[in-house]
Structures are given as C-alpha cells and as structure tokens.
C-alpha cells in the first residue's frame, strides 16, 4: 500500500465520519436529522469573474429525513456514504457500478434501496457535495479516458513512469490523479487536443519532443480525471495550457469545461477547472479571417462600443485559402446554431438572424424552434474575442474539424499552425 493512497483513504474516511457525525449530533440534541448541502442547480451556479470559474452559489438545500418526499433520498445518501466509507477502510477501489450493486437490496416489502444506477449515481453526487470530497478523493474509480505523453516522469502506485517512453501508446490518466506524484519535467507548455486521432498523429511524429510539450487528449468531452490532471499541471508546475478543439460550438464548449467547469457539476470546479487554459484553435477567424464581419460593424459597435469593435476587427488574415476552405469546411446545422446561441446569447445572434435563416435549408418546424430560442448566453463567452469567433461562425455557418488541418499536411499543423499561434499569442484567454 502506497503511502499516498493510505493517506488519501484516511483523510477521506475522516471527513466522511466528521460530516455524518453531525447527523448523530442533531439527533442527540433532539433535532430532526437534516443534510445541509450546496444547491446544485443552474440558478445556484455562479461565474466567479475574479477566479474565472463556475462555482456553486451560496444557496443550500436541506434534505430532511422527516420529510415524506425526501426520506428515501436521505436513506440513499446515508447508505452510499456507508458503502464508500467501508470501501475506504477496507482498501478497496469500487467503481460507480460496484457502488450501485453493493448498495442495492430490498427493504421491507418490494421497495429497493435503489433501482437504477441513475439513483445510486445521484447518491454519489449527494455524498460528494455533502462532504465536499470528490469521488477521486474517495478513491472511486471510473473508466480511463484521457492520455498523456511528453518529457516528464511521474510516480504512480509506487512505480516511476517516464512519459517519454511509452512507445506508440500513451499513459492513461488514472481516475485518482491526485495520487500521481510529479517527479521531473522538461516541457514548456501543455497542449490538450480534443481528438484522439490527432493526438496519435502528433505523438507518432514526436511533436512533444521537438516542441517541449506535454501532449494530452481528452478524447472528446473531458472526464474528471483529465480535467484534474490538467489543473494540477497548471497549478503545481505553472505550465501554460493550450486547448485545441474542432472549430464548432461543441468544441468551444469543451474548452469551456476545461477552463471554468461544467454547469451541471459546478461543485467540483474548484478542483477541476483550469482558469488559465487558453483556447488556441481552431478559431473561425483562422479559417476566414475577420473581414467577413465588416458588414456587421454597425451592429457590433452598438453591442460592444467602439473599443470593443477595434478588438474584433484587427484585419486578421485566414490561414486557409479559399480553395482549401471549399474542400474542408462542413455546413452548420440548426442544432449547431442553437448551441452557439446558448454560448453568446440572442443579442449577438440578432444581427445574423436574417442571414442564417435564409441560408439554413431547413423546414418551418426547425426554423420556428430556432426563432423561439431564448438564451442570454454565458458571461464567460460574452467577451469581444468570443463574440468575434462565434460571429464569424454565424456569418459563415461553417464548421471545421482539426483533422482538416492535417490533411493539408501533418507538418503544417505540427510545425507551422500550432507553433506560430503560440509564438504570436493568437489565442483566447
């Protein structure tokens, strides 16, 4: 048993005991047993401008055992806490599926403690937010998804691993990234790539070696372990983090999850978000430049003011030629437009509405749905830089996958596009 593991277990178990002792104390004082925990809803999710991450607001919920509607959930939360506690003290590493099976049994009559994993997963989230412990800290395992390679050595489970000697494979980021010990590192920045395929290509040509980078992929929507790992690299080693995703609203959102956290799981942002992460691309302005926005200048002046407008219209030139664009870009669908409206809000969308509706070849039903879309947008996307990028998306209705850049030649992506963007500071903070 590694020292780190033992300590993590002791710490988590002690926290659980301490928190639930409060319930016993309540009863001893003759009070009703009540679990007080942060309210996990969108309305209680606050974007902390100073710390640049999504945090839970001050609202609390009280889950009382003596409330008919909550008694069952109360029981489930305690049951889950006891199973996690037992696993901690018995040196076990349950997965969330294990926790589901361990806790499932029949109460009196036909009622089960829980019926579906949805219910037991909700109980895990309750234990997390009641104790303030993340599941990783409670040594609950999940599927490994993220990978890393680069000039770095770490210690994990007592073994020293050289991340530059992984052959064609890569190191899978373990579900308990807090137990990884950073030994030594010879890298200047972290590059996180949304697409696993692009990660593999860059790994084969040893991009990380030539450019002194730690190369990470989240293989799509990042899991918690990858986000925590990236956060530690940023926090503890002070490495700049650049994120490369597809040029579409879905990719922009992946960046946002790395940077400030997800709306649904904001209680973990404090430990998982990397506020300093930079969006390096692929930006719509990389594809089109910013001249497509010139005819919307008046509208943007109204929206952002003269200074804001100057930030948007910088005369940026596209990296792709008109011919390449024709070959690589993908037409946006109404669902992409909807997603984009969610990010920046309807006010940014308004100048493009007419154009978008005339270009989207969709039926009346989808159009009506689009017109009904009401969203104020997220504060952290309502910056001049993002308004420019998503404005270009509206104005062109085009998406681009990272792979499209490699088809122009892997070298272009590896040795020109990425290094030049980093050198010139062409990213969004």
């Amino acid at each position: 048993m590694r020292q780190m593991d033992v300590e993590a277990r002791r710490r988590a178990a002690a926290t659980i005991r301490e928190r639930f002792l409060e319930i016993v104390e309540q009863m001893r004082r003759g009070e009703k047993p009540v679990l007080v925990m942060p309210k996990r809803t969108l309305s209680n999710t606050i974007y902390d401008v100073r710390r640049r991450m999504l945090l839970l607001g001050p609202d609390k919920i009280k889950r009382s055992f003596l409330d008919l509607g909550e008694a069952r959930r109360f029981m489930q939360t305690l049951l889950m806490a006891s199973i996690i506690y037992e696993a901690l003290v018995n040196d076990e590493y349950p997965t969330i599926r294990d926790l589901y099976y361990r806790g499932k049994h029949t109460l009196r009559g036909r009622e089960n403690t829980w019926d579906t994993q949805r219910e037991s997963d909700a109980a895990i989230r309750d234990v997390e937010s009641y104790t303030g412990l993340l599941r990783e800290e409670m040594l609950i395992l999940s599927k490994e998804k993220g990978k890393v390679v680069g000039r770095m050595r770490i210690r994990s489970g007592g073994d020293v691993i050289d991340l530059s000697r992984m052959g064609h494979g890569a190191y899978s980021i373990e579900p308990t990234p807090d137990q990884i010990e950073f030994l030594d590192i010879d890298a200047e920045y972290v590059l996180v790539i949304e697409k696993d395929a692009v990660f593999q290509q860059l790994h084969r040509i040893k991009f990380w070696d030539k450019h002194k980078a730690l190369l990470i992929t989240s293989a799509g929507q990042p899991d918690r372990a990858t986000r925590r790992f990236v956060r530690r690299l940023s926090d503890e080693l002070g490495l700049p983090v650049y994120i490369l995703t597809d040029s579409d609203p879905y990719g922009f959102y992946i960046y946002s999850v790395f940077k400030i956290g997800s709306v649904t799981l904001s209680y973990e942002s404090e430990r998982l978000a990397t506020p300093d992460a930079k969006f390096i691309g692929v930006m719509p302005s990389d594809i089109f430049g910013d001249e497509v926005l010139e005819k919307y200048a008046d509208a943007f002046a109204k929206l952002l003011g003269k200074r804001g407008l100057r930030k948007i219209l910088t005369g940026k030139k596209p990296v792709l030629s008109a011919g390449e664009r024709r070959n690589y870009i993908i037409r946006a669908k109404p669902s992409d437009v909807m997603r984009a409206i969610e990010l920046v809000g309807v006010d940014t969308y308004a100048p493009f509405r007419k154009y978008v509706e005339s270009k989207l070849r969709v039926g009346g039903k989808e159009l009506r749905e689009l017109r009904r879309k009401e969203h104020a947008g997220y504060d952290w996307f309502k910056t001049p830089e993002w308004i420019r990028e998503i404005g270009i998306f509206f104005a062109t209705l085009s998406k681009l996958e990272i792979e499209a850049l490699t088809s122009r030649g892997l070298r272009f992506l590896a040795h020109k596009y990425i290094p030049e963007k980093i050198e010139t500071g062409d990213w969004i903070e």
Binding site: P33, F65, E86, H105
Partner: protein, 535 residues
C-alpha cells in the same frame, strides 16, 4: 281513496278485504309470504314492547308441500297474551281490533294478521292455530279457527286448554299460506334484518325452510316509551272525521264540542277561534255556538276549513309518537352491521297538515356495510322496515348522490355508507296503496334533509379524523421503513457500533415529529420489529 260506507254494507268485511287483497299486500305468492311473516312479526313485537315487555320473537317458515308451494309460518312472542274469550274474534273476525285508535302503531289496518290468515285459508284451506296465555293466567289455550267469510265470523274447529307449569305468557300463531320462498327469500331476510336494526332490545330468531337459522340477540335493554292515545289536532281533521267526532260527542254546543274533542283547544282558544270564524257573537260571552249535531253539510265543511286555517292553535302534541331514540338506533346498527362509525339523531317533532311527525336519521360507515356507488338506504315508517319502491321514496330524493353532495361530507363513492331514515307519525303520508314508500311532503322532505345533514356532519368529523390518522400511519410507515438502513449506515460510518442506540434515537425523533405521545414510543419499536429488517 277510502271505500264508501255503502260498500261495507253489501259485502261482509272479510269478503271485501279478500277481494281487495292487493291493498294489504297479498297480490301474489311472493308478496303474500313476505307479508304474512311481516304482519305476524309486527303483531308479536306490538304485543310485547307497547306493554313494556322486552320482546323475544321466534319466526319459523316451513315448507309444508313443496309441489304446490305451501308454507307454514309460525311466530311466537312473549307479549301480554290474549284473554282466551277474545282469541276467536281476534283471529277470526275482520275489523275486530284493539288498534282502531289514533296512535302510532306498527299494524296498518289493524287487520294485517287476519288478512294473512284469510289469505292462507283461501289458498290452502287450512285453519289458523293459536296458542296463547296472558300473564297471571293459570291456563294455556289452544284454538284451531277458520273464518266464515260470508258472515265474517270465526268457526272454532278445536279448542283445548291446559294448566301452565311455568310463568309463560305470550302468543304463538301458525298459519299456512301459498307462497314462493325462492323469490320472497331476500325480502324476508331484509325484513328480519331491518327489524333487528330498529328493535335491538328484541331477541329475534328466524329459521327458514332450508333449515338456516339467524339470530339477532338483544343488545340493549332500553325500549322506546310506548305511544299514548291522543285526541285529534284541529289542523288534521277532514269532514268525515268531524262527523265521527260529533256523533261520538255528547256536547250540545260548538264551544263544548271543541274543548272536549280536540287537543290544542282550551276554553280560551275555543272562544277566540269561534269569534274569529264568526260562529259566536263576540259581544255576548254566553254565546257558545250551535249544537254541532244539527249542523248541515255546508256548515260542517265551513267548520272543517276554518279549523284548518286558524293559526292560533298550539302545535300538535307529540305524545302519540314513539321515536326509537338515538341510543336504540345506534345499538341496532352496531349489532347488525358492526360499522366503524355510526351516528343517529332524533329530530324535534314537527307537523304537516295537523299530523305530528318525528324524523330520525342515522349514518353508519364501514364494517359489514358493502361498498357501493350509492348510499345503502334503509327506511322505516313507524318502526316498520320499508323494503320496496325505494327510489320513489322522499328519503331517496334526499340522500341520492345526484342531489346530495356527499363529497362535502368527505364521502366519495364507492363507499360503505348506510343511511337510515325513520319517519314516525300518526299518519305517515304513504305514496299509493302499497305503503312501501313515503310521498314528497315538503315539511317531511326538509326535515329528513336536516336530519341527514346533521348526522352527515358528524360522519365528516369521523372521516376527516380517520383520514388524518391514515396519513399519519402512512408517514410513520415510510419513516420506519428507512430506519434500519439509516441506523445501520450511520453506525458503519461511526465505526461499527451503536446501531441499536441510533435506531432508538431515530424512533424518538420520528415519535416527536409526528406528535405521538411519549408512551407510544414502545408501539413504534414493536412496529419496527414487526416490519423486520430483511437484509
């Protein structure tokens, strides 16, 4: 409506009633068998309870000849008995009765039993057999009697007597009639059960032709006070009655006639009435009006009308009415239906057209009452169960869920709800000749409605308490269900022990939360024990 006196003269009374037997309820073998049981049982109860004796009534229906449907109905009571010299007339002569007076009693014509005997004799040719002995008599008498229909006279076929060895008194009547048991069965059972409800002070035994026996033992020893005879109220008399009263009176002037023949008329009110009606000279205090015996038809009509119109009379007296009383109704319903809740009310006397009446109502809920989309209505007129034509009865008009909003009283159908309505009056306003349903008299209807509302309000209190208790029980069950799991989980987190103590604390928290008193704590623990904790 009523037969003219001329009709009686040309036919013997017995013959007249036989020819009009459907009036008395003997229209077919089904009705006849049921009606026979009913008439004999009512006479038996009257013989006991109106004389202050707690009744013991035994009823036997036997199949005499299955092929032609002859049934022998025997009813035994422990009443005052009949003096031996009157037995032949009492059972063998129509219109000989002690009931032809103005008071509430069960019998309808005072000839119901004789109608049964007459019907039996005409359908089977068999005589009635009577055994009777009054209290404090030394002998028991036995008669076998036929009715001479043409002459309206009893024919005594046999008469025996023997010394009593004990102190038995009462009457046993046995008559054989043509009937249809399979169809009459449910009516007879309903009748016996209905009678047991309103006579819980009686011990009723019944054996049917198939040998089945039901017994409703006495459950209360209190009896309703026996009704008393009273003079008629001026608002309630018609010309014919007025004629009868005059012919029975020896008064020589209107003033004396009114004062002595009516209730609610004293010297003062007689004087004011006569002056108001212009029948005496107001200036002459010695004018007492003409001799009523010399009044012509027009004058009689005028007098009857004025008696009805005058508003200065006191309300009719209620002594002739014999309500059951709340205690007896409650005891009766409890005995027969074992309900979860029962409430009864006896309303204050009221009058319609000069006839006093009292409405009694009760509701019973749960127990052996079957759940149904409508309330189960059981009706009584002067303590007699009314079994047929229910939907045309004024009581049904009141309790019909289409017109009475039972939801206001927290009853949602289907519900195990029974409503009892008892109307007692010196003149129950029956609808039609069948005398099985009561007509819509506005005064009666509103009184029944008030009575049902009154008991329904009490039912609402019960149901709302029951609802609260059920909710509480459900809450406690929900909490208890999770107690073992919560206690076990907490004890695991706390290091593995103290589970029992945690359970106790949880139970205490639940007990205080749901507001159970401290001494109920054990019951919670026991309940939890019963639920068991299956792991």
């Amino acid at each position: 409506m009523s037969a003219s006196p001329e009709g009686f003269r040309s036919l013997s009374a017995a013959e007249f009633f036989y020819r009009n037997r459907e009036i008395a309820g003997f229209s077919n073998p089904t009705r006849a068998l049921y009606q026979t049981v009913r008439e004999l049982v009512e006479n038996a109860l009257d013989a006991a309870d109106t004389h202050g004796i707690l009744p013991v009534v035994k009823v036997y229906v036997e199949r005499v000849r299955g092929d032609v449907g002859y049934y022998r109905v025997t009813v035994e009571d422990n009443g005052i008995g009949i003096p031996p010299q009157y037995v032949p007339q009492a059972f063998g002569q129509v219109l000989f009765s002690s009931k032809y007076v103005l008071r509430q009693s069960r019998g309808m014509f005072g000839l119901g039993a004789k109608m049964a005997i007459l019907y039996g004799q005409m359908t089977t040719g068999l005589p009635v057999e009577v055994v009777s002995s009054p209290a404090r008599h030394y002998r028991i008498h036995y008669y076998k009697i036929l009715i001479d229909v043409k002459e309206n006279k009893p024919i005594i076929l046999e008469h025996k007597s023997w010394r009593k060895s004990g102190s038995w008194h009462g009457t046993i009547v046995s008559t054989t009639v043509e009937g249809d048991w399979s169809r009459a069965r449910s009516y007879i059972y309903d009748y016996i059960r209905g009678t047991a409800v309103v006579a819980p002070y009686a011990d009723i035994f019944f054996q049917d032709p198939d040998g089945n026996i039901v017994r409703f033992p006495r459950s209360i020893s209190k009896m309703p006070p026996p009704p008393r005879k009273v003079k008629p109220h001026p608002h309630g008399v018609d010309i014919e009655q007025l004629k009868m009263l005059i012919s029975a009176s020896k008064a020589t002037n209107l003033y004396d006639f009114l004062v002595e023949s009516f209730q609610a008329i004293g010297p003062k009110s007689a004087r004011s009435f006569l002056e108001w009606a212009g029948l005496v000279d107001p200036e002459n205090p010695d004018d007492k009006g003409i001799d009523p015996h010399k009044m012509k038809r027009g004058e009689l009509e005028y007098l009857a009308r004025k008696l009805k119109e005058y508003s200065g009379f006191k309300a009719p007296r209620t002594d002739p009415l014999s309500p059951l009383g709340e205690e007896i109704i409650v005891a009766g319903l409890k005995k027969v239906y074992e309900p979860d809740f029962v409430a009864a009310v006896t309303r204050r006397p009221r009058a319609y057209s000069g006839h006093p009446f009292i409405v009694e109502a009760a509701v019973a809920y749960g127990g052996r009452i079957k759940s149904s989309d409508e309330p189960m209505l059981i009706r009584y007129a002067n303590k007699i169960p009314l079994l047929m034509d229910m939907k045309s009865d004024v009581s049904w008009k009141v309790v019909d869920p289409k017109r009475f909003d039972w939801r206001n009283y927290l009853v949602s159908f289907p519900a195990p709800l029974l409503v009892l309505v008892h109307v007692c009056s010196t003149k129950v306003p029956f609808r039609g000749v069948g005398k099985e349903s009561i007509a819509d008299v506005p005064e009666l209807e509103s009184e029944i409605r008030n009575a049902v509302r009154e008991v329904a309000r009490r039912l609402r209190r019960f149901l709302s308490r029951k609802r609260r208790e059920e909710e509480l029980k459900q809450r406690i069950d929900t909490f208890l269900k999770y107690v073992p799991e919560v206690a076990r989980s907490l004890s695991v987190i706390m290091g593995g022990d103290g589970e029992k103590e945690l359970r106790r604390m949880l139970l205490e928290v639940i007990r205080r939360h749901v507001g159970l008193p401290e001494h109920e704590a054990r019951s919670l623990e026991e309940k939890l024990g019963r639920l068991g904790d299956k792991r």
